[in-house]
Amino acid sequence: MEILQLIVNGIMSGTILAVPAIGLTVIFAVLRFTNFALASHMTIGAYAGLIANATFGLPVIPSLIVAFVGAGLVGWLSDEFVLKPLRASGFITTAIGSIALTIGLENIVRFIFGNQMRGYDLPIRRDWRFSGLHISPQQVESLVIAIVVMGLLFVFLSMTRTGKAMRAVADNPMLAAIKGINADRIAGIVSFVGMGLAGVGGMLIGLDTTIDPLVGFKTVLSIFAAAVVGGFGSIPGAVVGALVIGIGEELSLLVLSPAYRTAVGFIAILLVLTLRPRGLLGARAY
């Protein structure tokens, strides 16, 4: 029964990780670099949602949309003006640049909002209990939201023209260019969507806790682990990876002290990459 409870907890926390992990992996698939600025965009999303919810009194779903749009806009702008010019110098330079960007953005948030903890203006609910298990309705809601977001993304990628163009660029940028797909426009859209998802992830985490300027930074290592374990660049991989990390961190409590949680993500990465160097669902983007 304890194992079952741990697995349930793991699924819950894993699904929330999945949303920003998808954002990260989408950006990687198309733009071919690890965008460490994910952390600050999660924070920005959390604060955008906070303004919508606590200041303007919007309910959760519209606030999440604000979080998506807010983080997405910042993501698009920062890519356009900061990261895009760096891409010519190679992926390492761009990745380092994104670390600097994330520190800059985190501190802009700190400059505006200060360090105080802030909470969403939402009631907090008791767990549902049945047959010895307990599940938080908040987390179930987040789970549903995460699944809906993933569904919408799937529809976007497979049904719309822009989505198909994005996949084309991810598969073969050269061929896509020959076909007349505007890579710049796609880069902008990918940055918007990817960082928007990071923003939603940031707010989902904030709903469960409280937020401060470090909210994104605190979880970002687990998200990177999730994306890598699943296979960097693969969207289903990000979901699977997030669940593996989520459940893995919980199950590790059976044998390890909870103080070792972070290490579990790293061990998972090493195991998976040693056995399957391209991640669980092997990204096609190589």
Binding site: I92, T93, G97, I103, N107, R110, F111, F224, A263, L270
Partner: protein, 311 residues
């Protein structure tokens, strides 16, 4: 003021040693390593534990710290040898974080989050603090000079050329009959050794180390140094390290000139300034202030390289 400059000179020297080490791994071999602080920690903890708990002489401790960091570097490189650059980035980051978590939790190794204090330094206690700092300044910059000469020779040797080859096109090097895995491991060993050396020196300088010290922030500062000075270039690594320490400190004096901000805002402004500077350097001086003089070095055509090899 001069005491402050001396202390910052020591810090700059230690940053320079790290930048030189990173330059071998990243600048020359093109391997990304975000776990810099992990190797720094290995060197610092090894030397500190050996000198504090077993009473080894300082030199023996520092050499062991350097050697162990180099060994760990080889290990990490062998585990990650077939990984793509972006995976390597995350694995090395994870390595450093895991090491930090282990050192925080395993109290028996080095007091956990309390850290190790009272680490001996050369003639600490005999000299007055300022003379000690001056002595250490001499030691650190002597190490920088020796390391510089060594790496400069390495860089212009066939070994250095192969590393650049791996960086620029791994396939070509492999075709030329070189054992890429071995070369990568050697590059990691040399680079991590230097990082460990810096860590050991840092511990003996400040007399205290703790897991909190090994936060990712330091990694960023060293990357910043390398990019500022010019990646792939040993002179650039040293100049960059000095400039970064200068800049990190200078922001303390600049930010208070901004009117009407709270202390928290001033602190965030300082970090915004640091981040923005890095981005500006990356944007407009992507090759750094002193670009790698690549045309003369790494362009003996691969055919010439191949010709010297028995086929």
């Amino acid at each position: 003021m001069e005491h402050y400059l001396i202390a910052m000179g020591v810090t700059a020297g230690i940053y320079a040693i790290m930048a030189l080490g990173m330059n071998v791994i990243w600048g020359m071999a093109g391997l990304i390593n975000l776990g810099l602080v992990g190797f720094f920690a290995v060197g610092a903890y090894t030397s500190a534990l050996l000198t504090v708990k077993l009473g080894w002489p300082l030199a023996a401790g520092i050499v062991s710290g350097t050697a162990l960091a180099a060994l760990v570097g080889i290990g990490v490189s062998l585990i990650t040898v077939r990984m793509r650059g972006d995976y390597l980035a995350i694995v090395t980051l994870g390595f450093a974080e895991t090491l930090r978590v282990v050192m925080s939790n395993e109290l028996w190794i080095a007091n956990g989050t309390d850290g190790l204090s009272g680490i001996p330094g050369p003639l600490r206690g005999t000299l007055d603090p300022h003379a000690f700092n001056l002595l250490f300044l001499g030691i650190v910059w002597t190490v920088v000079a020796v390391l510089f000469v060594f790496l400069q020779r390495l860089s212009f040797s066939p070994f250095g050329r192969v590393l650049r080859g791996i960086r620029d096109d791994e396939g070509v090097v492999e075709v030329a009959g070189k054992n890429v895995v071995l070369f990568k491991a050697k590059a990691f060993a040399v680079g991590s050794g230097a990082l460990g050396l810096a860590g050991a020196l840092y511990g003996h300088f400040t007399s205290y180390i703790a897991p909190d010290l090994f936060a990712p922030l330091l990694t960023l500062y060293i990357k910043l140094s390398l990019l500022t000075g010019g990646l792939g270039n040993n002179v650039g690594a040293i100049v960059g390290a000095v400039l970064i320490v200068f800049f990190l400190e200078a922001t303390r004096f600049i930010v208070p000139l901004v009117p009407a901000v709270s202390s928290v805002q001033a602190a965030s402004l300082r970090e915004i300034l640091i981040a923005a500077t890095l981005l500006l350097i990356l944007r407009w001086r992507a090759k750094g202030l002193i670009p790698e003089r690549i045309a003369n070095i790494s362009l003996p055509p691969p055919t010439a390289e191949a010709r010297t090899q028995p086929i």
